[in-house]
Amino acid sequence: MKIRKIPTLLAATFLATGLATAASAKTLVYCSEGSPEGFDPAPYTAGTTFDASGRTIYNRLVEFEHGKTSVVPGLAESWDVSDDGLEYTFHLRPGVKFQTTDYFTPTRDFNADDVIFSFERQRDESSPWYQYSPGISWEYFNGMSMPALIKDIVKVDDLTVKFVLNRPEAPMIANLAMDFASIMSKEYADKLQAEGKMEMLNQQPVGTGPYQFVAYQQDAVIRYKANPDYWAGKQKIDDLVFAITTDAAVRRQKLEAGECQIMPYPAPADIEALQSNPNLTVGEQEGLNVGYLAYNTQQAPFDKAEVRKALNMAIDKQAIIDAVFQGAGKIAKNPIPPTMWSYNDAVVDDPYDPEAAKKMLADAGVSDLHMNIWAMPVQRPYNPNARRMAELMQADLAKIGVTADIVSYEWGEYLDRSKAVDHDGAVLLGWTGDNGDPDNFLAVLLGCDAVGGSNRAEWCYQPFEDLIQKAKVTSDIAERTKLYEQAQVVFKEQAPWLTIAHSKVFMPMSSKVKGFVMDPLGYHRFDDVDVAE
């Protein structure tokens, strides 16, 4: 029955999309986990939205290398950084075409105006595009402090753009590979503005990316087709379909029934069965995240590194991986995940040794310690069940004579209260990386500026701070790598956190899917993917 349907399918897609290629159109169906919030990636922060817009429809000046966290040329062929680190000059790729769709036909190639437009709309409050439909705000652009960082964006000529910064910032390049930096067509935007349909920018997208938008049926299906004019060559699959399936069990069923060829986020309980299915392969990688327990290092007795070390040694992390992550996690020893460049594999984790821990605590003069463990009320990728995790820790700590109380608040309040410098005890939290740059973990979570903010350990330690600040203004990657490796050693000695785990991400797919690369940043990218007949 399935087989008989196929000719109709082809005819159908054929007619509807106006595809004029060979009759053997290749289709890849991806059972995605949710609906995109919109098709302009810049106002949003959800990975689901980025998969459906930024990574399929659009390009950026620079791109994340497939399967890595490093950055390679995208719409910019090359770039130079001035010696003071304040000026980034991008040389744009010539001859790049925007997609031709039912609703827009470009008359010119991509140029510097498009770059300027894509950033100015987020920067310039007087631009009509700053709030092109009510409620639009630029979360990531602001979240990455771009307004404070960018002084000016200058068009040097049609194919050269210069970014002038207020201070040197090496992670700038990585920021420009993020989705909010996706390049929009100014010509298309002008057309929409003239027609008074500006909000369509978010519903009928036009980009330069590998796939172009065909149709979206709310909460059900997104359809794309390969961009025939893609500057890096047309994709091997002709039609890409996102079948929105929020329920993990249903995703699995559809995958097994062949209704889709690839799916994200399987239920942990299903992984074993999926792996043993001969028709499927299951990709596997650590996520770009870390779950941690941050001691308030400004509160006695957690102000002593020995005490923090002792507590670290009292907690059985393997038991947490088994019970809380159910195998979908990996013990963390560093504050950055192993897929990130500069990860220092030479660092040795604190061993699980309750006896030694007890002794260290006694040596530090701490007895009858009574402490709070904060447990988040929500499920996060880096911590599927904070409550259960806290209970395990509570039991472990009891074995060395430490009494722990578990406290929790509503999520928004939790985030807010745990920021306060004088919050009481140790906080369970975590972080999912944005741009694959170590600075995005080490400075954001452990830097002196972040005390009273996202630095929940309230930890400001000069030797560490010096290393990460130096790395921030150095543009040479090899140099930066060295500095970050050192910083991780200092971190381990001082132990402001108990590093708990990095989640493991699984990606089950049909064996017919070729060339899909697990992305350390957590994207689901379909460029260069193929389906075997």
Binding site: A249, A267, A269, D270, A273, E410
Partner: protein
């Protein structure tokens, strides 16, 4: 209401009451469905009361070597776990037995809160009329304008997910039915001769409300109460199923179903039994409710 029930205050003597009860039982026991429902219901109450003695295992104990083992009659099942185990190795039968406690508890609490509040508001509205009545009735209209489950969901979101909050939310949502019924009965009763004579005899407001009028409005309220009882169990299970009711690992039937959803095609028993338990309980109560209604409603009795 037929007119012949009118003369004087309706039978309120001990003898009269006994006679009423006997008559009621006569009609009730003739209804086979109702009796079956009653028997099942009594069994459920017993199961709930003696759950710790009846359950073969602790409902929260995880047998790590027996994950998702099927019921005993299937291949791979064992008599240790008669109805099989769930994804973390807990005995399903034991969880179902303990779940009976939660479901009956939910029913009792919801009906008690909704009925007490509803009767009180209904009495006040019907007895005093005026602006208070208008205000109360408008509020009830507003509550009724929202689909009950949606309103309960939003209420739980406000109060925070959990069994207690789910019960409060459901009770609030059910309140208007009791208010309207009580008010309507009070309105029809308050001009009756026996009430007027009691009033003339100098009975106080409270006495008139609770002792003179209320007992004569009880029949429809009891029927509505059984209906609310079964609906409360259904709605609490639905909230649990949507993750807004009792939280895991509580062995509440709806919550068990929510946890079982991901195994739907692999382990039919984890999905089937909790739902069956809900269905049997609700059906038993509804059978009783039908029997009650027929036995209490004189009009249907005659036909």
């Amino acid at each position: 209401m037929s007119e012949q029930a009118l003369p004087g205050a309706p039978a309120r003597t001990i003898n009269g009451r006994r006679q009423m009860l006997a008559e009621f039982w006569h009609y009730f026991s003739k209804n086979r469905g109702a009796v079956t429902g009653l028997v099942v219901f009594i069994l459920l109450v017993l199961i709930a009361v003696f759950a710790p003695l009846l359950a073969p295992h602790n409902p929260d104990q995880q047998f790590r070597d027996h994950l998702l083992s099927p019921p005993f009659w299937q291949d791979g099942g064992s008599l240790t776990f008669l109805l099989g185990t769930d994804a973390v190795g807990r005995d399903i039968l034991s969880r179902l037995i303990h779940g009976a406690r939660f479901s009956l508890f939910i029913g009792v609490v919801v009906v008690t809160i909704a009925m007490t509040g509803g009767i009180l508001i209904g009495l006040i509205s019907g007895f005093f009329r005026g602006w208070l009545d208008t205000l109360f009735m408008r509020i009830m209209d507003i509550i009724l304008a929202f689909p009950s489950l949606l309103l309960a969901l939003v209420l739980v979101a406000v109060l925070g997910p959990g069994l207690i909050n789910a019960m409060i939310a459901i009770a609030i949502v059910y309140q208007p039915h009791f208010v309207r019924l009580t008010r309507a009965s009070v309105l029809s009763e308050r001009e009756r001769e026996y009430v007027i004579s009691a009033r003339v005899a100098g009975a106080g407001v409270l006495r008139l409300m609770f002792i003179t009028i209320l007992p004569n409005c009880l029949a429809p309220l009891i029927v509505q109460g059984t209906l609310a009882f079964s609906n409360a169990i259904l709605d609490a299970a639905a909230l649990g199923f949507l993750g807004m009711g009792a939280q895991p690992p509580t062995p509440e039937w709806g919550t068990m179903l929510a946890e079982a959803r991901e195994f739907i095609l692999r382990a039919w028993w984890v999905v089937t039994f909790p739902g069956l338990a809900i269905l049997i309980t609700v059906l038993a109560i509804n059978l009783m409710g039908d029997g009650l209604r027929d036995a209490l409603d004189p009009k249907l009795k005659q036909s």
